[in-house]
Structures are given as C-alpha cells and as structure tokens.
Subunit: 768 residues, 2 copies
C-alpha cells in the first residue's frame, strides 16, 4: 500500500515526480478508455525502462491454447484472451540527434501526470534534460472520444528551453505486438496490409484463429506555436506489420513545436471494409478537429457525471476514490453494445483472460441500472441470453448434463468457457445463480417485466434444469444436497453443501417456477413459444420443485448461524484478529492446502447470500451470521469488502462500514495489494458504488418502491448520489444533520425513507 | 483389452505377426532391463512407422521446469523427469542399396518377438521382402547383462534368401534424444565429446542442470556364418552428439551375416572418468564374449527365479501373467543400490516423472523382502532415510511446517517433490504413513530391529511430528481431525477426515512413541544421539499422544462401517454394478467434478487401512467394510485389485479373489486400459505377487511366525511360491487336495498353517 503516491484531488488523479519504479503502476492508473477501446498510459515516445505496453479493443479476443500441468476431463481446449491490440499512440522522438527517452535523461523535473476524470483526458508534462544538454518542456495530452468511439487524439508539445532544436517526430502504427500472458508465447496477430497516403497511415491485421480484422490508423499534423505547418512526412518506412513516418522541424528556443496524432481502430465487428472505415474516421476526426473533439469530450463526460457522480464532502481521498471507480467503470463499459461486457481489468491490463465473470451480474449491474438508461442493464442481460446455447453446450459436452441444462462459464468472452482449474471451472457453479438473480434484480429495479417473456425465461429454465440435475438426494440426510462445489469464497474448494450455492439453487428453481406461471398468464404466446422450444412439461417442473422444496442448508443451531459448508465448525477457528499479521495475505504466505483447511474466507459467501436475499432473513440472523463470518474474513478478494460494508452499515456498525468502504474505494489508487501495475480492479469498483448507495444510503427496492435509510460516516460532512429509478432521476443528499431528496422531471415520487413514506414533488427538495 | 495379442506360454512373452498398430505396445511389453539400465523394445534398424523411443538409466534424471495453468503456492519449481537416455542399440541397415525398414517392406512373414523371461533375453525374427525384391531372414537377440550391469549385447543376423546381398551395417550412438513428455520441449542432454577407436565408439554427454555425465559406448563386430570377419569400419561419421560407423559386407544367398554390438552406459554416479570406465566395459565384454555373457545371463536369471518364481498349474495365462510381473519387477530393481528406487514405469516408458511413489513402501517392499536378501528391502528403507532432510525441507519451505516435521514427496527422484497438483502434492499426505509402515513391516518380517535405532527412528520422528502438526482440534467434535486431504482414493480431493489417513496418522504417532521407548531401553546410545540431534523432549511426545489418543474416525453406526471421509453417505450411492458400462472408465468418460462427487472409488482406501492393520479389526468388521466399499470401487488404479483380491480370499470369496487376481496379473499383457504403449505398470506388479502369496496363500507374519491359510482358485490345479523368511527358504505348494511346505537348509521351522502350528523339518515335505 502506498498512500502518498497519488495526490489528493476532487476530480483528477495526479502523480508528481518521476519514479522509474512507478511507471508500470501509473500506466494502469492513468489508463483511458471509451467503452470501445482503451489503453494503458504508456508513453508515446520511446522508453527503455520497465513498461507494460497495452492497448485493447472491446470484443476482440484470441483463443489461446490451454496450458495445464495435469489435464482434467472437461477442461476447455482454448481460452479466450483479452488481446493486446496494435499500438497507434507511438511517436518516437529525436531532439538534436538524441532520442527522447525518460530512462536516459540526465534530469527530469516537474514531471506530472493528470487524469482529468471530469473532462475525460489524460495529460503528462515534464521538463527533461537530454544527455546532449538540451532541456525541453514536454506536454502530452491524450483522450479517446466518447462520442466518436473509433477516434483517439494526442497532442504532444515540445518546447526547447535552453537551445534551438531540430526535432524529428516519428509517429508509427505497430501490429507486431504480443501479450505478456500468452500461454505459449505465440503471436496473436497476422498482418494483412500496410497503406499510407500523405499524413495518413493504415495497418490492417487480423487475429489468428478468431479472424477479427482490425485497421489501425493514424493521421499526423505538425504545429509550431499551435499553427499547423501542413507538413508532409519526410519519409515513410513500412514493414509487414508497421508503418512509421518521419517529420522534421527546427524550432528556436522557447518556441513550442507539436505533433497532433489522431488514431484508433476500425474493426470487422462493425464494418465490412475496415480500411474504408478508417479513412472515414480520419475524415471525421480532421473535420471535427482536435479542439472540438476535446470540447465534445468534456461535454460527453459531463453528461455521464450528471447521472453517475457521487459527491463526498470533507474527505477528498474518499471523493477521489469513488470518482476514480465511477470513471473507470464508464471508461470500460458504456452499455451501447450487447456483444460487450465488463472485463475484470477493463482496458487497463490483460490479466484474467476473458471479459465476463459473475462479477457483472453480482456487482456491476446495480451500478449500471441506477446510473444509465435501463437498456444498458438490459444489454448486459441480453449478453447472457445470446450465450445460452453455449452455456447448454458447456453443461452437456464438458460436464455431462442433459435436457437443456445450462451452466454459464466461469470466465468467458464469446460464451465458451475460458478457465481451467477444475475447482473453479467445474465447481464454482454458483455463478449460474447470479445470472438468474440479475434477471430478477433487473425487473425489481426497472419494473420492466418484458425481458422475462422475451428472453429471460429461457435462461431461467436452463439454469433451473442445471440445479435440478446437479443436486442429488442424500439418503442419509433425507434431503437434497449439492456436493463438490466451490462457493464465492474460493479459499474452499470441492466442499459439500455450500450454503450460498444451495440457497441460490433453490431460489433459482422457485423463481423460475413462479415466472413460468406468470408468463403463462400474462404472456401466453411467449409461454407457448418457449415451452415448445425447450420441451418443458409439468412433470419436469414438479421434479424441480421436489428438489427445491427439500433442499438441505447446513446450519448450527447452537450458534444460530448457517454454515458456509458441511464441516465448517471442524476448523481451527482462530479469528483473523488473532492471526499473525506476518502471515498475511495468506494467499501469498501459505501453501494452498493450508489456505483451504483454514477458516479464513476470501470474500463474502454466506453473507453474499444474505446480501442477495436480505428480506428472507431477520436482522438478528444477519447480525449473528455477520459477526461470525466477518471474524474469519480476510477480504483478499477485491469483491469482498463492499458486501461487508453494506451489511455493517445496515447493522449500524458504521466505523466498520467506513473501513470496508475505504478498502474498496482506494484499492488501486493506494495500491493495497501491490499489483496495480497489472491493471485496475474494474468490476470491484461497482462494489464501491454499492457501498455508498446501498450501504450508507441504504437504497433498496421493495414492492416497486425506492427505499433509503441514510447514514453517514462520521469522517464525512455530506455525500450525494443520484438514482435513475424508472426514468425518474432521484438525487439524494446526506449529511449528519439531514437527508434531502429531489426528483427531476414533472412527476412526484413516493419514496420510503427510514421506513416511512416520503412524497417528493418534482424539483422540490424534500428534507428529513 | 486384447486377450489374443500375446501368445500363451509358461516362460516367454510371444508376439506373432507384424502389426504396425502394435509396435508401440510391444515396445513396452518386450522391454528389457537389468536394474541399472533398460530400454523399450525399439527396433535396432531404422523404422519409419509409429514408435516411442526410450532408453533409460537408473538414477539419471532431469529437473524439468514445472508447467501449470494456475500456480499455487507450494508447488515445486522443478520436476524430476525420468530421462530418455542416449541410444546405443541403433543399427541402420541397407541391403542392396535399400534401407531395411519394416514400415516399407513389401512383405513381412514369420514375424515373431519373444521375451524369454527364464533366461533374460529378447529375440525378434522375421522374413522380409524389400521393395528391391530381396527377401531376407532376420534374427535379432538382445540382452542386458544382470551380472555386468553396464553391458548390453545385440546379435543381429541377416540371411538373404533369394539373392546375394551387399549389406551395409551402420551402428551408431546418439545422444541427440529428447523426452516425449517434456514440459517445454527442451533438450535435456548437452553433448561433451565423441571419440572412436577402430570398432569402438564413445559419446559422452551430460544432463543439463543435474550434470550427470554419461558415456554411451559401443563395440561392433561383423560375422559371416558366426565367424568374426575382424572388420574395421569403412568410414565413421561423427556429429556433436552422435557417431555412426559404416561396415559393408557381401554375402551369398543363404549365408548368414551378422553384426554383434556391445553397448551400454558408464555414468558419473559410479565413475570419475566415464570414458575410461566405458573402455573397461568394452574390454570386459569382448573378453567374456557374447556367448559367455548370454550363458551367464541364463544362470543369473536362473538364480533370480530360484527364489522368486511362482508356479501355477492348469492355467497358462495366469502362469505367464505372474511370471511377467515378477520378471519386470526384477528387471526394474535388484536392490543393489540404495540411491535407486522402483519407478512406476520402470525402464518401459517415461510417464509419471520421478521414480519413487508410496507404491514402493505399500506394494513393492513385501515382494522384495520375501524374494531377496533382506538387505534389498533395507536399501529401499535407507533410500527414504537418506532423503529425510529433504522431506523436512519440503514440509518447512513448501508447506509451512516446522520443528523437523517431515512430509515425504508424492513423487520424487532425489528427495524433492516432483508433482504439482495441489490436491495430490499438498494433500495426499497419507504417503507419509506408508513410509512409517514399511519400517514396521521390515522389522515384522525380518526380525531385524537394528534398522530402527540406526536410521528408522529419525524418519519416524519426522513423520510423527508432521501428523501432530497437521491434525487440528475440532471444538465441534471435541476430537482431533485432519482436514483437507486426498486419501488413497484419488477420486476424492480435499476431503475431511479420510479414515485411512486419520488411522495411519494415529498409528504413526503410537508406533513412533513405542519405538522411542524401546530404543531408549535397548539402544540407549542411539537414543541419546537421536534425541539430541532432533531435539525431542517428553512434552512434545505428550503433545503427539494427545492427538493420537483423541483422533476422530468417521463411521456409520447404522451400517457398522468406517466412513471413507466425512459426508460419504451423502453421496448418490448407486453401486458400480448398476452403473451404465458406457460410462466407464469414469476417469475417461466424466468430467472431474462428476468423478469427485460420485461414490466411486479408484482404489482401496478404507480397505487399504484394513489391509495394513488387519489385526486391529474383526473379520466381521472387514466383511462389512469390504462389502460396502467393494460395491463402489471401480478399480481404475492398477494398485487397487490386489488389496481387494487379498481380502476377498480372506473372506472366502474365492471367485471374486480370482477375478481381481486376473485383472492385476495380465493388466499389461492384455492391455486392459489400452495404454500399454506408454509403458508397463511396474509397481502394481508387486500387488499381483501379494495377491497370490498373501491372498491365496494367506501368508502373514504374526509374532515372528510365518502363517499360511492356503486356498486355491477352482480354475487352478496347483500353485507354488517361495518365501525367504529370515534366511530360511520356505517353499509352499498348494493344490485343492493338499498343501505342502518345505524348508531349505538344516534348521527346522515352526509355521502356523490354518491356525495350527506345523513343524517343518529341513528338506522334508510337510503336508496338510
């Protein structure tokens, strides 16, 4: 953890001072993205120090051949990888015959990075003295247009401070890139074509195996004191997968020279002719122009913030943290395209192949539902609907299920399983439950039932069939059991009767049965269509219900708690507080078997069930289970503290709630786990949002009504957030003294605050 | 399974007829070895068809870099591999300008392989017509000298049948070999030197990383009608890792031409100067001569058979099966060198890196104890004693134990762990128990206590310390539990309270405590030395005993059985007989999670405990547990049927015992699992021996007395075996009508047969 790394600021992420050891971490933290593409904050100019180069295009992946020590039946042969995309940001620079390379300068001063989250741009500036004695001031600004999501822009300024300078700019496109995490050190890109036309360059390449075609383009202009010199390249060097232009200018001392580079990708997912599309993108970029694009960018981010901002008064680090999380979520996924999803590292790194985990349904959907048009969350649900056939195939071909039982993959890009640890891939089956829960949650929040007869019910049926087949009858217990699973707490593997899994399995069947009934009555045509398609009869539904109604849940009557799994109380129950700090994090300090037999919990498990199904349990039950499990939870998953924070807030353990909140909101900014250089923890960022809105704000939807029980950590003066509730924008402001609620538009809204109804007239502040 | 592949014969393994699809399987079955080196039955001449080339040298290994999909803390970084050694058997042959290659001959007749187990040689003969029209009769005989274990010999005869022939012999040595199972397709050998001297060739190479130096040598002679032509090579081609000689002869039709090749290895394990040692080996081989070596070979094998043969009358396939097993065990390990052990594939393949598994202690030691001088078994025990430091290091550094707790590796070559599946490597800890049991078993059988004060007690202490630390107290059960293990049944992973593991853990502590007391009294000097060395005090022993005396064993009172693990009765208990045959073997047909949650048992687990500790349980307990567990056992481990066979025999279920016996004794010969091409199942072969001696013969040692309860399968007329019991050779002959016992030497021996004492006078047949 490094609390002094990032400067506190309400709206920007700021790093000051150059430190070679921080370059890779900052490359992650200062990443930019626009939902369609993104990139780590790699330097434009050459850099001979340690760097992790990464550019990424949403939806473009590569199936890497699986690598294992010991093959287990059921493993996928291939493994979709987030793909390092061709580099379009590169600009090699030479000043008076010497390369500008921050790793070899004799002096670097005023080094500053700023990621301006309010306006959506990234800036890097410094003054550097090269070995040849020249001192230059450099400023580079970069952004990826939210409105025109195939367009990125760079303005790179150089002002020689102590001498006149001859500057050579060598902007390039390079498809000769590879992934750091390849299994077999293979290349993933096959170059197809390199084309140039005056200041325009195009490199077309396609991914091996998946054959996604991508044209990477650039357009360069050279300026002096912001005046376009209308230069053409002095020379162009083409290689099979690269093109590099050379421009040369001479500028006097104190005169600012600049290169402006537009660049980006056009991809075969969206265009038949990616080269022509790239030409159009350049046409659009040059027509709109850099300054207008930048001004549009500020406006576009302004609109995003208008809906999704959370303000925190009196705690700039908390403010910065929550905005960083909201900013990154929006950079990663804007919800325009149901073929895309929310990768765990977004566009900030390549770790964890695949883009889609149960994180999306369990943690991200609430954020997107509440801060975006509801079609965004619907797109996320549709993503799974579109992959239902592959989930059925996965269950059938890999795992031996039948009759349309669906098991969604643990990790996926295109619906196929992308992970190969048997204890996860084959056994962490609770993921199916979160996918069903998201369907319920979407309806609960939006009130829009139409998704269920249209698409959701088929998904639910596939999932119910899976649970029915996966449970087995214990003649010993005279109940149905689910054996050999890994629950949300991945520090237990191959356990029996994980409470969370059993509970959500039962719930899935019950919920599916109820929706079948409702659809039969309200949408008879859809009901008929679906029943015929999936060949579902009453006998089968009865068989499901037999399992659901007689499901076993492990519990301890003595302790008044549910047991995370059979046998949990056999463990050596030393609470985390008594565990030697030198032993933590246990996943780094202990061998895996020791982790497994310990009582320590990686992330909310029983408590995750209490979070999803809060209304099924009493407050006393929650408190007993929370107190028991919290004492053994090490929160070594980024997804853990948010649930504990929400529950602590509910239980009026506000200090605890606040501590959990801090842990999640600045996880990356303060580099808690010393791994931010690999990329940011995108999906857990949605959990931070939940900690405030559902935790401190106490937001719930009950019977189509928005509920709040606002509380505030004593460290804060006030905080505010907005909720798009069924197309009405509700703004909530909370301070220790009072809470206020406003509703945009022209319709009143009846809220429930602290258990009492509160009618909020439009555009009038209601105070409590 | 292929029952018609190998011709039935009492003493030989015979294949008739050439089938390209059988070449790799036969290469395994006809493998030869002499304890120090061995090789698959690869053809001497070039062969362009499918082949698996393999030559192996005992004790020579390579640490391959571990390959995993997902790293877990505690995995070893390297992984000792059985190493494919330089090829010395190769002889490229050209006849009238065309290569002799069985894959391209126009006609192959009278193709026959014979592995003569009685005399210890391998012969291959055939008549082949080449594409150039010449028909030749070929006979090749090969053996690896038991007496001179650095010397191998080949005599390769060619008789042209229809034309005169010009024959070119191109014998070679080749160190440019690689393993089929490398993790990273690396080479394992670095060539050092190639030298030649008239008919002698030497290639010296060393293993990368381990730096074992090996000189591979050859000496060639060319004969016509068995007369040495005293030819020198026509030419010699040397490469960096290879030397190949060329000899040319012309022979008339019907005249036999031959090449005789001596070859083998001299290794830095045994010699400072391997090249000089190789020269000495050639000197020895040429001095003794081929015919004398072959005649010595017959005599040496005669001696081995004299002690270890089992005869079966009335069932040639059973006879052939048991002799094949005994032959292979002796080819693999002769017990001369305590640095060596019994690899699971012996010298017949390279699968499963590492040479030493708990198979050695659990299955092989009884065979070697009863059929060899007792120093052989003592060498096997010493092997583990010599690796105690590494077992302590393994427990400490990889798994977080302390205070001298030892965990022997799951798989090893040099004492370091060579396996990397957490559920096996970290959790299949019962292996420690078998190592302690072997110490007890050695004393029980030999009556030689000296090993324990000398070496064994230190091993026992390390093991007891491990169990003490590995058990934990369950506040729920108020007993000690052992969580997160894999038992002998590897179709369960990460289970709690595996009966076998808990039982042997308790036994290890009890046994160690008892030996500490005995050594203190009988060997006070050793006791003092050891206690000081390992720093063991009474308090620690008391702490051990607290665990041992309060160990939890899962059981079902209702069923009157011990439970394989907690929760076993929650499974869907469909017996194997009701399982669809199309689903088997389940490890090939099912995904791993399905295997795990099923009730099916790969190999004896609770029953393994009953096997080791038979006297701790009543016959009724055995029967109840046997009936229960046998019904769920799929025997998909080669180590399983023998234990069930022994117990079925004890329970007078002779048909079942016989079926299990058959399954184990001809596993490879009939290729039950369609995998013999990878190599033979060497360690399970000792289980076959146990099935007869301990199962049908009912041999036990109780209170220093040899007990028998002879039974005979109805399919057999009679069988016999010998036991070297404390340097007295006991011969047991069993038929349906009677059993006879004889003792060699001049001392009478009091046996216990069917519960009654029987005094056997020396050299007089005692009949019952």
């Amino acid at each position: 953890m490094n609390q002094d790394y990032i400067q506190p600021d309400n709206w920007s992420i700021i790093e000051e001072g150059f430190d070679v050891e921080r370059v890779k971490s900052s490359e992650s933290l200062f990443s930019i993205g626009n939902g369609a593409m993104g990139q780590r904050a790699n330097f434009e100019e050459q850099y001979s120090g340690k760097t992790f180069q990464g550019s990424y295009i949403a939806g473009i992946y590569y199936p890497d051949k699986t690598k294992v020590g010991w093959w287990k039946n059921g493993y996928p042969k291939y493994f979709a990888k987030v793909l390092n995309a061709p580099n379009w940001i590169g600009i090699d620079i030479e000043i008076n015959g010497e390369a500008l390379d921050l790793n070899s300068c004799t002096k670097i001063e005023k080094y500053r990075r700023e990621l301006n989250m309010q306006e959506g741009w990234y800036n890097r500036s410094f003054t550097a003295t090269l070995q040849n004695g020249i001192t230059v001031e450099v400023n580079s600004r970069r952004f990826l247009s939210i409105n025109e999501d195939e367009i990125g822009a760079i303005k790179f300024d150089i002002t020689p401070l102590n001498q006149d300078a001859t500057i050579i700019y060598k902007p390039y496109l390079d498809a000769g890139v590879s992934n750091e995490d390849t299994n077999w050190e293979e290349k993933f890109w096959e170059p197809l074509d390199v084309a140039t036309d005056n200041n325009k360059g195009f490199v077309t390449a396609q991914t091996l195996k998946t054959a996604f075609k991508v044209t990477t383009y650039m357009h360069n202009s050279i300026f002096e004191n912001d005046k376009d010199l209308q230069l053409s390249p002095l020379s162009i060097e083409n290689e099979v997968d690269k093109t590099q232009f050379t421009y040369q200018v001479s500028v006097s001392k104190s005169i600012k020279s600049s290169i402006q580079k537009f660049g980006g990708y056009t991809v075969s997912l969206n265009h038949n002719n990616t080269l022509e599309a790239a030409k159009s993108a350049i046409e659009k970029a040059t027509t709109i122009g850099y300054e207008q694009l930048l001004s549009d960018q500020k406006e576009a981010w302004g609109k995003i913030w208008e809906m999704s901002d959370i303000t925190i008064k009196g705690d700039v680090k908390a403010q910065q943290g929550i905005r960083f999380n909201i900013f990154q979520l929006n950079q990663t996924y804007l919800g325009k395209d149901s073929r895309l999803n929310i990768g765990p590292k977004g566009f900030t790194g390549e770790k964890y192949g695949g883009s889609t985990y149960w994180d999306t349904e369990a943690y991200c959907i609430p954020f997107y539902m509440a801060t975006k048009d509801q079609k965004v969350a619907r797109n996320l649900l549709t993503y799974r609907y579109n992959q239902l056939d592959k989930a059925i195939e996965n269950a059938e071909q890999n795992l031996g299920f039948n009759n349309g039982a669906a098991l969604y993959p643990m990790v996926t890009m295109n619906g196929e399983e992308c992970h190969n640890e048997w204890e996860i891939t084959h056994e962490e089956i609770h993921r199916n439950g979160a996918i069903a829960f998201a369907i319920f949650n979407f309806y609960r929040f939006t009130g829009d039932y139409s998704y269920i007869p249209e698409k959701g019910l088929e998904v639910l049926i596939g999932i119910a069939r899976f649970w029915h087949q996966r449970a087995s009858y214990s003649n010993d217990k005279k109940q149905y059991v689910i054996l050999g699973v890994t629950g949300p707490n991945e520090y237990e593997n191959n356990i029996n009767n994980n409470f969370y899994t059993n509970y959500i399995a039962k719930w899935c069947i019950d919920y599916t049965t109820a929706q079948l009934k409702r659809v039969a009555i309200e949408y008879p045509k859809d009901h008929k269509r679906i029943i015929e398609k999936v060949k579902l009869g009453d006998a089968e539904i009865q068989a499901w219900n037999k399992v659901a109604s007689n499901m076993y849940f492990p519990k301890s009557e003595a302790l008044g708690i549910y047991l995370q799994q059979d046998g949990f109380l056999d463990k050596d129950l030393v609470p985390v507080k008594d565990l030697d700090k030198a032993q933590r994090p246990i996943n780094q300090k202990w061998s895996w078997d020791r982790v497994l037999r310990s009582p320590y919990i990686k992330q909310a498990d029983v408590l995750q069930g209490f979070y999803f199904f809060e209304d099924h349990f009493t407050r006393e039950e929650l408190e007993r289970n929370f107190d028991f499990y919290e004492s053994f939870t090490v929160h070594e998953s980024s997804l853990s503290p948010c649930v504990h924070s929400i529950q602590a807030a509910k239980l009026d353990k506000m200090d605890m709630a606040y501590q959990f909140y801090l842990r999640t909101s600045r996880l990356d900014l303060d580099d808690y786990n010393k791994e931010v250089e690999e990329g940011c923890h995108i999906t857990s960022m949605a959990g931070t949002w939940m900690s405030i809105v559902e935790g401190f704000g106490g937001m719930r939807i009950k019977n189509s009504q928005l509920h709040f029980t606002p509380k505030i950590p004593k460290e804060w003066e006030a905080y505010s957030f907005k909720i798009n509730f069924r197309n009405q924008i509700v703004t909530v402001n909370v301070s220790a003294a009072q809470s206020t609620f406003t509703v945009d538009g022209n319709q009143e809204l009846v809220l429930n605050v602290n258990g009492k109804e509160l009618t909020v007239a439009p555009n009038v502040v209601a105070t409590i």
